[in-house]
Symmetry: C2
Subunit: 210 residues, 2 copies
DNA sequence: CTTATATAACTGACTGGTCAGTTATATAAG
DNA sequence: CTTATATAACTGACCAGTCAGTTATATAAG
């Protein structure tokens, strides 16, 4: 293996190791995954892996903390930048199929859930720094729709959970149950329907919704 | 340990072992869970455990296949026995808090998801014999509401997924993120809201929609 | 443009501990 | 005495983490 001498090259190698770790943790679970296999998958020896990460735990933690952040910012941006609450819901539901199909996020979520028991503080951080922020962003959209008269919302925080629920369902489905293509779901159709039903359910005045 | 000689006593012991296995698999994951600990938790030695289950894999498979079935039947019954589609949705959403708080199902789901990679055929069976049946029962309720003119439903199978989504969310939430009581969610309120929004979204009366 | 020296990236054999599954032995019950 | 149930000591495979040694690369000296 060519050596990584510059900081940039080392960072690249770190990324490759994280990707390899995700692949192995996802396929075999944290405990069954072998450090040797992770290293080999990234084209390195086990010893070299330990130059980049102190331990298997440290590798796991780095993996979880790395992947979610950019998507949280994307969601917060979509929620805040839209011209109206309705437009925000449109943008968010439109983004979900991409998030689920093209992002490592669903696999990371599965890995996190799988080994939650062994890493309670990672779970706590994830909840406060990822999930709570996403729920807050959506609740803010709903509040905004309520204030502007666009939407009828009783409990924005609780409603936000219902808005998010299909995202978790689709994420889990796509990485766990969609092994055989027979089980494939049309995410564009699913989230289009979700949006439509949400807007019906939250329509501000029932007589003249549209 | 006193010997279990009658078939009933042996069955009781099997149940105790399955319960102990769920506890250990849930806490530590399949690979990290120790057969010795599972046996001890059920008040037996490891050797005795092997009198009841051939291998760790067999124990895992038995666990997954045992727990879901009665709940599937309960859901199918609730869906079919209700006098109307609206009543069925009422009964189903009312049942969910109990299902999540008082049955082992959420923990079994978490265990299944966690080690899905190692048991692809268990996952496939679970999908076809548990999930698909539940989705079909809900789709049937929606179809029924459509035919009777109670509900406006375009795509019952896709809609059924959206009906189920909050159940998975709550199940995962309750067993993974609800470690600290601060994060506790009021499931009765959540599913009451879900029902309300569903009925709004699917309201048949077309002078309000479109 | 060599060649020598220094450095840090990298390797893989090894160790200590763990654990699934087996088996020799013990004992309760008929 | 015989059989079914249970135990705990045992075995063999496996793997995280370590470390003594190897090698690619940078740079200084000739």
């Amino acid at each position: 293996m060519l050596r990584a001498r510059t900081p940039a090259a080392k960072d690249e190698r770190r990324q490759a190791l994280l990707k390899a770790a995700l692949d192995e943790f996802f396929d075999r679970g944290f405990t069954a995954a072998r450090m040797d296999d992770i290293a080999r998958r990234a084209g390195l020896s086990k010893g070299a892996l330990y130059l980049y990460f102190d331990s298997k735990d440290a590798l796991f933690i780095a993996l979880i903390e790395t992947v979610a952040a950019p998507n949280v910012e994307k969601v917060e941006h979509l929620a805040a930048a839209a011209p109206s609450a309705t437009a925000a819901l449109h943008a968010l539901t439109g983004f979900m199929p991409h998030l689920i199909r093209e992002t490592p996020l669903p696999r990371v979520v599965k890995v996190l859930l799988a080994d939650a028991g062994a890493f309670p503080d990672v779970v706590r951080r994830y909840r406060s720094q990822v999930i709570d922020r996403v729920l807050a962003a959506i609740a803010a959209v709903l509040e905004r729709g309520k204030r502007s008269g666009e939407l009828a919302v009783d409990d924005p925080k609780l409603t936000a959970r219902l808005v998010v629920a299909p995202v978790l369902l689709s994420a889990i489905w796509s990485v766990v149950f969609e092994i055989d293509p027979e089980a494939r779901v049309d995410l564009d159709a699913l989230f289009a329907l979700h949006k439509k039903m949400l807007l019906h359910a939250l329509a501000a005045n029932p007589d003249a919704a549209k």
